[in-house]
Structures are given as C-alpha cells and as structure tokens.
Symmetry: C2
Subunit: 378 residues, 2 copies
C-alpha cells in the first residue's frame, strides 16, 4: 500500500529506507570482511520487509527475542531461526510445534535445570532440540561464566540426552554503556575471547561445540578480529538511534527511524510547544539520560529531518509531547511553530519506539511511502 | 474465549476482574454522591469489556485520547465520545467522518489558531462541531489560564463560526506528584474553582457555556465538593497501579492489573532471578522513581499475588527482567525460585504496561480466564 507522507496521520513511525539499506550494507560488509556470518536480531524491527532486506544483503538466518517472531519469520519462509532468550520450560510445546512444521529452530539455556527440562521434554516427544549454551562475558545479565563447572555439565547433559549442542553464545550488552573506540574495541575482544574460550573448554572435555555466536551492535562495529567466532548477532544497527549515536557507532545521517508529529498547541510564556507525540508514541525509554548527551524524549527535527538544536523534548504525557524552546524570548514561538505544522523526532531507542506502532511508514528515495506492518506482543 | 491460567504463556497481562469491578463501583458511587456524571477516560484500558463494565455501572459517555479509540467505541455502539486532546487540524476529516456516521463526538481546543481551523473546516463541510475549550488549572501541560483574554475570544469565535461550545474542561495532571490528602483536596478544589471560574467568564461575556468537565483519578477521589462541575473524567482508577498507590488513593488490594512472568534463569552469586518479562512487557515507565517509594520496574509478587518484599525488580532488558533478592546469602535462590516457576509483577503505570500487550487475560472470581483484546496504535 502506498500513501502520501503529506497527508499522513500523526504520530507515525517513519523508516528512511535508503538509510536503512546503507546501515544493512555497512554491517554486512564488515562481517563479510571479518569472515563471519551475520545473523541479524530482528527484535528491533519486528518487520518482514526489513528482515528480507537483511537477508537479501547476505544475512544467514535470523535471531529472535520471542517465539511469536519465530513463527512470523517461519511463516514467511525463513527456516534458520535462533530464539536467543533462555528457554522457559513452558514454551517448549510452542518450540516443538515449529520444529514439527520443518522450522530449523535453535534454542538457548544457561542452567542445568533449563537443560534438563529441554532433554526431558525432547525425550518425551521423541524430538532432538538444537541448543545453544549462553555465556556471560561482561556480567550484565544472563549466562554462565566461562570457567563455571556447570558449562561442561550442561554440554554433556544436552549431548547425552539427545539434544544437538549448536555451540556457545554471548551478548556484550554492557557495550551500550561505553562511548569511545578504545573501550569498545577492548569489550569486543573480551566478548570474542570469553566465548571462544568457553567453546574450547567444552571441546577439551571431548564434546562437539561447532559454533561460537557473539554480538551486540557496538561490539560488532568495533571488533578488530573475530578469530574463532562463527557468527555475529546484532539488531539495532538496522535503524540506529540516539543511544547508539552517543555510544559513537553511528552518524546523524545513519539514523533511519523517526516519529512524525503535529503541533497541537503552545504555552508561549514557558516556551512550550505541545505535540501529538507523547510517550505512547516515543515510548518511555530515556536511554540517553545517563549518557554524555541527554536527548530527553528524542531529538527534535524539522519535518524534513534537520536538527533543531534550540528545541528540547523534555516531558511527555500519554498523547502529549512537551517541547521547550531554549530561548523563548528570541522569537514568537506560535509564529515559528504554528498549530498544525509538523516536526520529526529521532528516538532514544529504536527497539522501544518501534514497538509502540502497529506499522511503520517506509519512505523510499523516490518519495513513495509504503506501510510495513510489525509484530506486537507475544 | 476461555483459557487456563495454569497453561498461560508468559509474559501475560492479567486483569483481576473482581478488583476492576470494585474500582469501577467505588468511583461511580463517589461521583453519584457528588452529583456529577462520570465520563471515564478509556486510554488506560483501551478495552471494550472494561468500558462496558464502566457504562453498566452508570458512566455516561467516554473520554478518549485518540480518534482510533473513538472509532472503536462508536463501532461498539457508544455514541457520546469526547476526544480530549487538542484537535490537530489534520485530524478534522477523521472527526467529520465520525460525525457523519452519527457519532456524538466532541473535540477540544486551547488556541485561536486551533479554533479557527475547526470553524473554517466546519463551514467548508457544512458541519457544526461540538467543541470544548481547555483550561490550565495547574501549569502542568496544555490549556488557557482562566484569565487569559483568548478564552472569551475563542468561545466567541467558535459560537459565531457555527460550532457549539460544549463548555470548558481541565485536567489536574500535577495530582500525580502529590502524596497526601490535604494536598490532594487542595488541588481538587483548585481544579474545580479554576474551571468553574473560566466557565463563569464566558457566561459573563454573554455566551452559553453549558458544561464544566474536570478530572484526574487522584483529584476525583479527593474532591470534597464539585459545585458548578457537570462531569468528571478519570482513567487509571479502573485498574490503579503503583504510582496511584504512592499517591495514596488506592490500597494494595485494589491493584487490578499485573504481569505474569516465568523464571528463566539466575545469577546466584549476585542474587539475581532472570525472568521473561523485560521492558517490552512492563514498559519503560519508571513512574515511581521520584515518588516516596521507588518500585523499580514493578512490585514482585508470588504467582497468586502475595507481595514478596525481599525482591526488587531493578533492571530490565527487552525480554529479560532482572530481579534481585535483597539478601541472597539467606537461602538458595535457585531452590526457592526454580526455573519454570512463575511470578506476578504489579506495574508502575497501568496505562503504559497495558499498551505493551495486544490483549489482557481477564481473570474472573470463578477461575475462568477470558481474552480481552485492546487497541494498539493510532
């Protein structure tokens, strides 16, 4: 479906398709040069045309954050799917259904209890699950330390229990807290080294551990070598956002997602512009709050995307954005930003802002705008 | 559709229906006693069975935050609908379409430019819009001060231009920042006094101003008299949440919305429990952060809803919740909270958490669980 941007109802989530394509090319070329396969994490877009663009550019398989994403991708013909959240035993029937339909689904665990549940369920249903073991490379969330005794125990339990051990995986999520290349390169090397070392421990125990999967957008864009790694997972690079801009891994002209909004009022005495993009449109994500530049609820731009440095999006209610002009005495705010005119907001966090919308409006270089639906919920 | 809570996939948004019904009764009886009509704001639930329960209890008409909500309610047979966000001129065709189908839609403005756009569009399309004028009673967002010259000018512009002036409305949104009854009662009286005074100014100018509409959940539950007020709008009272609990207008046993989640792992050394409810399920709303008790991403409870005071939901990634046991040395976290077992989380902000889900699971006193769909997007 093609719509006109001029008559688009607001708030609307816009994808700048040429920027998205360049972002996809940039990451794919980097992974090609480093000699690893790219398995993009689709939790950012949750949108098939975006995923297809990634596969067309050379990505092999996808990473998902929910089984609903897996079902959606498989229904669209994508077979190689890695569900990269530790498997809840209660979700095993849903995974089994996908396997029985022919999906090449792989799943994840980081505990003996989780592995035992997978093995037991697999044996009860005469099914071999393909299973990854999660490694903790930076202490930020889940996974086993590389030297945890349970690592080899889990690998052995899975293998003896009839599951196939795909390999080990890790995610250096703490990379979002960095903001300079030396630190990013060091963390990328740590992510690689720890995960390769975990695979080595399993191999030294006499078990097969074919793959080593790592990844986060900042480390993927900073790694100097990926020796021993077989694949990289990364997600937010497809759109980038202000958090990534603060981390230092993307330029302004690589920010591919924005929210179009209409000005609905003012409080001239306070220098306030009121818009129809509140937190329901932007999400409550304030990811830049603790970074070196706090963008409030997003960077305000003109309708055409030029940054308005004297505006700050400092507060949001459900369907109201409150944008403050830094020096309201300098001009007549009501004249410069009249009711009915429009602004464009760059989000802090593309994954969170995208999730607020049932569909994106994908803006092509030709001026055509297509509606791309996206997944919601579980 | 009836499902079993025991086999429910997680994360899931649960409504405790008996609590919701009691919350609806409580607010309705209060408004009945104060002699005003209740026009609930459906932006919290965005869910027809909830709205029907409000109407069955005595509510008259609804308040909406988007025209999509208006269309959804009108399609379900609700005619009297107030779209309580200042009208963007670009949305007037959508409002006109509703009017032409027989919807008794009323709209809002707080500026001469906005009023002029409504009048011009109405004249071009031979339509009279029913219009409210927004008053600012506490400086927190939109609206005209009661003594702003533009108030009577807008009322006159609308009336002469062929629109019907419904009256004046205000919303004391700053009530969310309070936490004691004297302050809430004072703000409720301020909300009433300012809005009645604005109506009086319009009447003194020789214009008709039939209605005075005020409301926020905290002030609605604190007002001592509503002389001069004709209707109250309130939203979040239908479910309540931790922000409202901190404000002091609801008890623990009135919190009707929760998120069911499954434990998927641990970091025993840190006392961490990892769950499948991250910020995608809870939302990024940290509304209790600046209140007297900060609940992190929500209050952790047992699967059956008992508060677990020694757990803190301090961090969230997209599909991972990180819950910390205050004194991890005191017991074996893996034994007490095994992988696959479930917890229930009370959200900071019901409007934001609900929006993350395509449907609620409505839990009746009988144990039956119904799926209630909710609106997403614009």
């Amino acid at each position: 479906m093609i719509v006109s941007l001029t008559h688009l109802d607001t708030p609307a989530a816009l994808i700048d398709v040429p920027r998205m394509q360049r972002n996809i090319q940039r990451m794919q070329q980097r992974m090609d040069n480093l000699g690893v396969r790219l398995r993009p994490h689709i939790k950012t877009s949750k949108c098939l045309p975006t995923v297809r663009a990634q596969i067309d550019a050379g990505a092999q398989g996808v990473t998902v954050s929910t089984l609903k994403e897996a079902e959606h991708c498989f229904a669209a013909g994508i077979r190689d799917i890695f569900y990269a959240v530790a498997m809840a035993p209660g979700k095993l029937p849903q995974a089994l259904a996908l396997l029985r339909e022919g999906c090449q689904l792989s799943i994840l665990t980081d505990s003996l209890a989780g592995a035992q549940a997978i093995v037991d369920f697999g044996q009860q249903h005469d099914t071999n699950f393909d299973v990854w073991v999660e490694i903790d490379c930076d202490g930020h969330r889940s996974g086993l330390k590389e030297d945890d005794k349970a690592l080899v125990q889990i690998a052995r339990l899975l293998t003896r229990g009839g599951s196939s051990l795909c390999g080990v995986m890790t995610h250096a999520g703490s990379s979002y807290e960095l903001d300079n290349q030396p630190a990013l390169q060091a963390l990328a090397e740590q992510e690689r080294r720890v995960c390769v070392s975990a695979a080595q421990r399993i191999r030294e125990a006499g078990l097969v551990c074919p793959q080593v999967s790592i990844g986060s957008t900042p480390t993927a864009l900073s790694a100097q070598n990926l020796d021993g790694v077989t694949e990289v997972r990364a997600g937010v690079y497809v759109f980038f956002d202000l958090v990534m801009h603060n981390v230092g891994v993307c330029r302004r002209d690589e920010l591919a997602l924005s929210v179009l909004t209409t000005i609905i009022g003012h409080q001239p005495d306070k220098g306030w512009i009121i818009t129809d993009a509140g937190w329901m449109a932007m999400s409550r994500d304030r990811g830049t709050q603790r970074q070196h530049r706090d963008y409030g609820y997003g960077q305000v731009c003109t309708e055409h995307g030029d940054w308005l440095e004297d505006l700050r999006f400092g507060a949001a209610n459900q369907e109201h954005g409150i944008i403050t002009l830094q020096n309201p005495a300098s001009l007549d705010i009501v004249v410069r930003f009249p009711v009915g005119s429009r602004l464009r907001i760059l989000p802090n966090h593309a994954c969170a802002t995208g999730a607020q919308f049932p569909h994106y409006h994908a803006c092509e270089a030709t001026g055509e705008v297509h509606i791309w639906s996206r997944l919601h919920g579980w």
